[in-house]
Amino acid sequence: MAFHKITITINDELEQVVVPSNMTLMRMLRETQALTGTKNGCSAGECGACTVLMNGEPVNSCMILAVECDGGVITTVEGLAHDRQLDPIQEAIIEAGGVQCGFCTPGILISSRALLNRNPNPSDEDIREALVGNLCRCTGYMRIVEAVKKAAGMKIVAAPIPMPSD
């Protein structure tokens, strides 16, 4: 097995990580960075529980090799809050009651943040479309959709998600 040294920004921290060629981004985050907020629901890109932002775009981290992220910028659920100040989408999902077992929640939050970054005023339809790749078995989605709408009207106190060009 070949190993690679990659440089990667994870939640605003620049990291150098040695990874085997076949290690997925999900496993790298969970197993080498102790960022276990990113969840493994299927390892097949089907459930969305492992969604993270890669260079600002939501991706299933189980379908991306860590080596592909060399030089990239990753945001996980642990990187949404800054200085204990929750991201509006985190506040809103608590308020709306959109969390039950919580296993899909990290992926839902990341997909929602990505949506709000590119569309600050999404319609119901936009929100449902943006979350179609994030399965939730508990909530029935309604309160999650409400939370995204609520968050759209709230100001981000935290620093904006950095892009590779920043």
Binding site: V77, I93, F103, R137, G140
Partner: protein
């Protein structure tokens, strides 16, 4: 009274407090079982599984696997001869002589990596003699079927389960009331219908996972995502010949259960393997594919209904036969058959009843409990029959249900009377919310619109003596720690536990923590987190424990202040006297006690309260007639209605509106109750429109989230409304009874009834996929009408 601020008291019960675990869950800090860190000693397990639905094991050769570098242990059924099972001990941890479903565990490997463990499986050679499988429950119950469990007559079985030795019938529940045969001729309308309800999967987002370590003393620890830490301790210890107290189960945050993580499914495998590699934690994590065919499935059902009513619409008779496809083994299936048997009339008063509910062994995946415990499957047919019978007698379906449904004190088919219930109100509320009787025009010319409604009932299906316990203690700051053994699967049991403890004790909700994770060494006993029983049963235990603290506090203070306890109260965390107007915060006394009035020493000491609860009035049900005065603790009832559109060009169904009303006795946390109603409705919708384990010759054809589709954010109704009805339960905390499972029970038949309203077509079973609906419309010549 400055500190107590008694002018500003609001009880935390009945308020929609935010989830106690919300912040951890939204920041990624919540620790689930797979997030636990075990260091370098950790080994990974994989399971060699049967490729045949039914075969005899002739020979297992593990020698090649054992010598693969990195492999630490290979185990087979030879190593673990004990039977295991909750109600019926009918299986081994690893198969010994026979495999009974595709996926049955034959051998296990522990290795230094998951990859090596997986590679070792290919080196295990198993010789089988393939046998004819049984793949249909009705055939399985017949004398022609080969007996899949020749030793059925010798298995250890709970007293209320009735297996028939020499057959595949693992339980036969009989309900006999009145004179069914004589009633038919008095009926003005009679219908007979049959339905096939397919197997489905729970699909929790978190797959099953278990990590086990056996220490040098032989004491076993199991970390697992679990609804039943205590039942697992009991059953696994029993099977492996351990003492229960030498087995410790720790269950971190659970990523969804829906019944699939109740009892013992894969957890014993991890423990058994760990026993061969002492000192090493061994992790077994099901892949999503394994999740579909080796974890419990919701068992299939073949249901036959016959029912009739007189010319006024009053139900006179029902004759129902259920064949449950229990699969290869039956952890819960036997009790699902029992629950469906005694509930087979649905929430209706019927004077003449004959019910037969069979749990049948087949060579399909193992049937287990799933949200509703047989009720969604049974109501799927029953509630369509109610619509059809109403139509036949010329009555409106809502009026027909209101006429026949159970009201307070109605006589049950099992004998005895029902406690106060608000079912009529639930039916009225949903029919109002869906604007029953008003037909809205479809949104496009190629669409047809329809409305449908269904009612339901469900009792907690459990042994008569399933118990709960709790403790409550306080810290130096006067804040509260509540110990419970029930699990939070997402339904919010930790949150309402804190609410109930706070309300009983007289402290703010924010002062209460719940001692998690559940750990059988430190947490108080709880039978299982199943049956929608925690709010009621564990809630009572918490109230009792908090009252115990309260009594100790007030006794102590009354002595110190030389007053009687009945003039004292605890308000906002401060003990007050209404008489002397003295007050002292809890923190002043709950650890260090109080000085005696005469200065001669101290009284009290660290305060800890204990409480338990167990129903004490549940009677058995007669083996031949199903009759008994008080067969279950209570029933939760409710109704749902939907409005939908069918696309004539594609067969696609869109649920436009879904409404629900359930009589929960008392909503401890109203928004969380509504969240259960919404989540259940969407899970019910998903089972109605999309879900089916495609079984062919015993093989699951669609074990992935792509081929087995569950509802996504784009499938949900545009509008959902949840209505809480509160007719108090006399023995529930604040009158509460359960709601978790009930919310998916009536959804499927409500949708089926709405489809009929839209296009005039009925199906003998779900899922009502676009393809199925389109082809049925083609057959029926719906187009051009």
């Amino acid at each position: 009274m400055a500190q107590a601020n008694i002018t500003n008291i609001s009880s935390p019960v009945g308020e929609s407090k935010p989830r106690i675990d919300a912040r951890e869950k939204v920041t990624g800090a919540a620790i689930y079982t797979d997030d636990l860190q075990f260091g370098n000693a950790l080994l990974y397990a994989r399971i060699k599984r049967s490729p045949h639905p039914h075969a005899l094991i002739k020979k297992i050769d593990v020698t090649k696997a054992q010598v693969l570098p990195g492999v630490k242990a290979v185990v087979t059924g030879e190593d673990f001869p004990g039977y295991i099972g909750l109600y019926l001990q009918d299986r081994f941890i690893f198969c010994r002589d026979r495999v009974r479903y595709v996926g049955d565990p034959v051998a296990g490997v522990a290795a230094i990596s998951e990859e090596i463990a997986q590679n070792a499986l290919d080196l295990i050679e198993v010789e089988y003699e393939v046998l004819e499988p049984v793949l249909d429950p009705e055939f399985g119950a017949s004398p022609e079927a080969p007996a899949l469990h020749p030793d059925l007559g010798q298995y250890v079985v709970a007293g209320f389960i009735f297996p028939e030795a020499g057959t595949n019938i693992s339980n036969h529940f009989k309900l006999r009331k009145g004179d069914v045969d004589g009633a038919w001729e008095k009926c003005a309308a009679v219908i007979e219908r049959s339905y096939r309800i397919p197997h489905i999967q729970h699909v929790p987002l978190e797959p099953h996972i278990a990590i086990s370590r056996v220490d040098e003393k032989g004491e076993v620890t199991l970390w697992t995502s679990s609804q039943s830490p205590f039942a697992q301790r009991n059953l696994i210890a029993q099977s492996l010949g351990l003492s229960q107290s030498d087995m410790r189960v720790i269950s971190p945050v659970v990523g969804g259960g829906f019944g699939g993580k109740a009892g013992v499914s894969m957890e014993a495998l991890a423990v058994a393997i760990a026993m061969k590699v002492k000192g090493h934690p061994v992790k077994l994590r099901l892949t999503r594919e394994e999740e579909f065919y080796t974890a419990f499935v919701r068992q299939g059902l073949v249901a036959h209904f016959k029912m009739g009513c007189d010319e006024t619409g009053r139900l006179l008779a029902m004759e129902n036969r259920f064949y449950w496809d229990g699969g290869a083994y039956t952890e819960y299936g036997v009790n699902i058959a029992r629950a469906a048997g005694y509930s087979c009339t649905g929430p209706y008063e019927v004077p003449n009843v004959k019910g037969d509910s069979y749990c049948v062994y087949t060579n399909h995946p193992v049937g287990g409990p799933m949200r509703g415990f047989g009720m969604p499957e049974m109501h799927a047919g029953l509630e369509q029959c109610m619509d059809e019978l109403a139509l036949q007698i010329g009555m409106d379906a809502v009026d027909f249900r209101k006429l026949n449904c159970l009201k307070t004190d109605s006589i049950l088919a099992t004998g005895g009377r029902i406690h106060p219930i608000g079912l009529v109100e639930c039916i009225e509320k949903v029919s109002e919310a869906i604007e029953w009787g008003k037909k809205a025009p479809p949104s496009a010319p190629n669409k047809r619109r329809g409305k449908g409604l269904a009612a339901m009932w469900k009792a907690p299906a459990m042994p008569p003596n399933a118990g709960s316990s709790a403790w409550v203690e306080l810290a130096e700051d006067g804040k509260v720690n509540v110990g419970i053994g029930g699990q939070d699967l997402g339904q919010g049991s930790f949150t309402i536990s804190a609410q109930m403890a706070a309300a009983t004790l007289g402290v703010p909700y924010e002062w209460v923590r719940v001692a998690a994770p559940v750990d059988t060494r430190y947490s108080p006993y709880e039978w299982q987190t199943v049956a929608s029983r925690l709010t009621w049963s564990m809630g009572n235990a918490i109230v009792n424990a908090a009252r115990d603290v309260r009594r100790q506090v007030l006794d102590l203070v009354s002595e110190a202040w030389e007053e009687t306890p009945d003039g004292l109260d605890i308000v906002n965390g401060v003990v007050i006297s209404y008489k002397s107007e003295k007050e002292t915060p809890l923190k002043n006394l709950v650890i260090y006690g109080l000085p005696k009035p005469d200065g001669s020493g101290w009284r009290g000491g660290p305060i800890i309260g204990r409480g338990n609860f167990m129903p004490n009035d549940v009677t058995g049900l007669d083996a031949e007639t199903g009759q008994g005065e008080h067969g279950v603790v209570h029933y939760t009832t409710g109704a749902q209605a939907v409005e939908l559109e069918v696309d004539l060009d594609t067969g696609q169904i869109e649920i436009i509106k879904g409404v629900a009303a359930f009589d929960v006795g008392k909503a401890i946390n109203p928004e969380m109750v509504k969240a259960q109603m919404e989540g259940g409705l969407v899970q019910g919708l998903s089972s109605a429109l999309f879900e089916q384990l495609q079984l062919k010759d015993g093989f699951v054809q669609n074990p992935s989230l792509v081929d087995y589709r569950i509802a996504t954010s784009t499938d949900i109704p545009r509008e959902m409304k949840s209505i809480i009805v509160e007719v108090p339960q006399d023995d529930g905390p604040w009158g509460a009874r359960g709601i978790g499972e009930h919310s998916m029970v009536p959804t499927l038949p409500a949708i089926a009834n709405a489809i009929y309203d839209a296009i005039g077509i009925r199906f003998d079973g779900p899922p009502f996929t676009a393809e199925k609906v389109y082809l049925a419309m083609l057959d029926a010549g719906t187009f051009g009408k």
